[in-house]
Amino acid sequence: TPVIIVHGGAWAIPDSLAEGSVQGVRLASTVGYKVLGAGGSAVDAVEEAVRSMEDNPVFDAGVGSVLNADGEVEMDAVIMDGRDLKSGAVGCVQNIKNPISLARAVMEKTDHTLIVGKGANKFAEEVNAVTLPTNQLVTETARREWEELMKFRTTVTKLFSPRDTVQKESVPVAPGHD
């Protein structure tokens, strides 16, 4: 029996992104399930499900990515085939519409498991990966968030604070784990 499970990120998701996040993961899981139902492979299914979320600006991946301290987009992606443990990944790649597909190309077209930075973008050119300019990868919300964080120096740790130990001003704290 084919099965697919997806996530759209674990963090302090604001109410403004809540409904979009739920709809996005519902769509992505359905997209992947259709691939499986048509006899597609698990690799095909996870690639299509992740691409669906990369193309959805509500998620922090592909279109919807955020800005680093230099105001640039750097994306990471990985894919793995459980048949033979083959895998491929890219790190700090820039201006790529679907990094998961680039990661798959690393898995299938190279002898490597991870290519980063300029090398990843050079490889993207070799395989004709679809590119997008930074302003089409980043949403206005992400740009405002960047301006706020640069101003107040919010740390990575605060963004992923455990909900049962850190009190926030605007978000009620729920006890324990899910």
Binding site: I4, S29, E54
Partner: protein
């Protein structure tokens, strides 16, 4: 960060994880996402995992491989998910979430952050949730 784990009709398992980084992160910083065993893992003989959350913490405990090991030892995907995330919280004070499948297609999903959007489909039934404790279902 987004991710997916799938089991196809041939019994093959795969995972994929993708992230757009963290706002205002140090240029060149990479978290767990592209690292095998941290951002995810897939082995037909055991199961598959995709992770999300505080990347530095996830990388330190090799979260995905940790969960895979726990399942290999006989834990269900759900128990393995909860055990591994509890371990990460205690050992490195990090939070995150995971989605997991084992080689029989059983589901595991858990998160220690405030929210995680998740969904899974099996036997034409879609389950989804966002807040702790949620599990809505519908036919697809």
């Amino acid at each position: 960060t987004v991710g997916a784990v799938a089991l196809d009709t041939q019994g093959n398992i795969a995972f994929g994880t993708s992230t757009g980084g963290i706002t205002a992160k140090r240029p060149g910083r990479i978290g767990d996402s592209p690292i095998i065993g941290a951002g995810g893992y897939a082995d037909n003989n055991i199961g598959g995992v995709s992770t999300t959350g505080h990347g530095e913490s996830i990388a330190k405990v090799c979260l995905a491989k940790h969960i895979t090991h726990l399942m290999e030892g006989g834990m269900t995907p759900q128990t393995a998910s909860e055990t591994a995330l509890t371990f990460m919280a205690k050992r490195v004070q990090g939070s995150g979430g995971v989605v997991v499948l084992n080689d029989n297609g059983n589901i595991g999903r858990h998160f220690t952050t405030e929210r995680m959007a998740w969904a899974w489909v099996k036997d034409n039934v879609l389950h989804h949730g966002l807040n702790p404790g949620e599990d809505f279902s519908e036919n697809v």
